[in-house]
Amino acid sequence: MRPFEYSRAQSVGEARTLGGRYIAGGTNLLDLMKLEVETPEQLVDITRLPLNEIKETEDGGLKIGALVTNSVLAADERIRRDYEVLSRALLAGASGQLRNKASTGGNLLQRTRCGYFYETSRRCNKREPGSGCDAIGGFNRIHAILGQSSNCIATHPSDMAVAMMALDAVVETQQADGHEREIPLKDFYRLPGDTPHIENELKEGELIVNIRLPKPKSGYHVYRKVRDRASYAFALVSVAAIIKTDGNTITEASLAFGGLAHKPWRDPKIEEMLVGQGPRRKLFEDAADALLAEAQGQGENDFKIPLARRTLISVLAEATQGA
């Protein structure tokens, strides 16, 4: 870990003006700083900022402070009742100890678990732009099958963000100059392209203040995570689904996927395919095939294509039956 200057911000304004890398739960940033994958020179401790409440909004949604921990968020009664998919996703992630520290803002910004990103002696465009990508042709079991580029095939590891994506969450920020903005989560993350080191739309020094959830989506909520052991492992594939039916037809569908891409994946096209249709296996298969039409395996992760297909079909079957 490189030496850094540590300061603790007492207010959002102070945090912005201190300038430096924000540290919240620290569970991802310190992990990477120990290995010198991350090397900030200034560290601004934001844990004392008053951003740890979950408030109801006028439009019937919720505003989640960036510092609300993953545990508190998962256990919040409103989340459990109205946004079950989010609670489920959070509970499927990491461990009890980590969730007690991990913050809502930090979770959105956690970085990939690609082994070559972590190993500083290997080539990685995300860590060292232009150096190459050792995951291509290497051990890429956990890597992307959608949206990857020839520069980076990493996946985003978050479970929470997948559910937030399905819920149409909005990220509220303050930029270094105090300017406030709102970024819908669907526009927040970037695909790797030529710049895998730029992962989202945040500008230097921009602070996530809140994450807003629009009013609850009714219907059947499910978060299905497939992984290499029963707990405490990242998703190979995950599906967040909120499906509403009126008995005969699907009236609303929101679907997002983890483990498939550089960002939590959402594909409006398959939701459109489903809405207005009667639930049946052929429909689910067509939706899965549409989702994966462009999917490309990297060798070790080829299995993610059939796995994602089967998991989605099964989730749709469960959700339409449960709805």
């Binding site: 030496p3 850094f4 540590y6 401790d45 100890q97 520290k101």
Partner: protein
């Protein structure tokens, strides 16, 4: 850099490198070596401490971030002469072998019972809208952040069940 830490009911003022983790502050600077380092990256749970009553991985947090927090380590739960009920249950059920993951398991278990007491759901809770009950499956899921390579898991679960019966109000 100066920091004052409240650990097990005592205040300690330290002049430390800001890079020092809470775990290393205890192990290297305060001779509180009950909390163990198994990975230093949040991957094993051996370093589990309670901070303001909640369990965390003390390897993934900086000591300087914990001014004014109330920190409990395994040494603060009980002593060899006067064991906490959770510690006694681990002895009774052979909930350990080499003992290296054990302080982390014990502190985590105490924190975990607190979470269940507060009605927090888990990944295996059937209906998260209504609440949760203590069961073997709940314990196993909630304790999964504590690896035990000796694999004392069955006995750890038994020990926790025993202690849960004895401790209504976990520390």
């Amino acid at each position: 850099m100066n920091v004052t830490l409240s650990i097990n009911g005592r205040y300690h003022t330290l002049d430390i490198d800001p890079r020092t983790s809470l775990l290393d502050a205890c192990r290297d600077h305060l001779a509180l070596t009950g909390s163990k380092k198994g990975c230093d990256h949040g991957q094993c749970g051996a370093c589990t401490m309670l901070v303001n009553g909640r369990r965390i991985n003390s390897c993934l947090t900086l000591a300087v971030m914990h001014e004014n927090d109330t920190i409990t380590t395994v040494e603060g739960l009980g002593t060899a002469e006067n064991l906490h009920p959770m510690q006694a249950a681990f002895v009774e059920h052979d909930g350990y072998q080499c003992g290296y993951c054990t302080p982390g398991q014990i502190v985590s278990a105490v924190g975990m019972l607190g979470e269940i007491g507060d009605g927090w759901p888990s990944h295996v809770t059937k209906d998260i809208k209504t609440g949760t009950e203590l069961s073997g499956d709940e314990i196993r899921e909630r304790m999964s952040g504590n690896l035990c390579r000796c694999s004392a898991y069955p006995n750890i679960v038994d020990a926790i069940e025993t202690a849960a019966g004895k401790t209504k109000e976990p520390a």
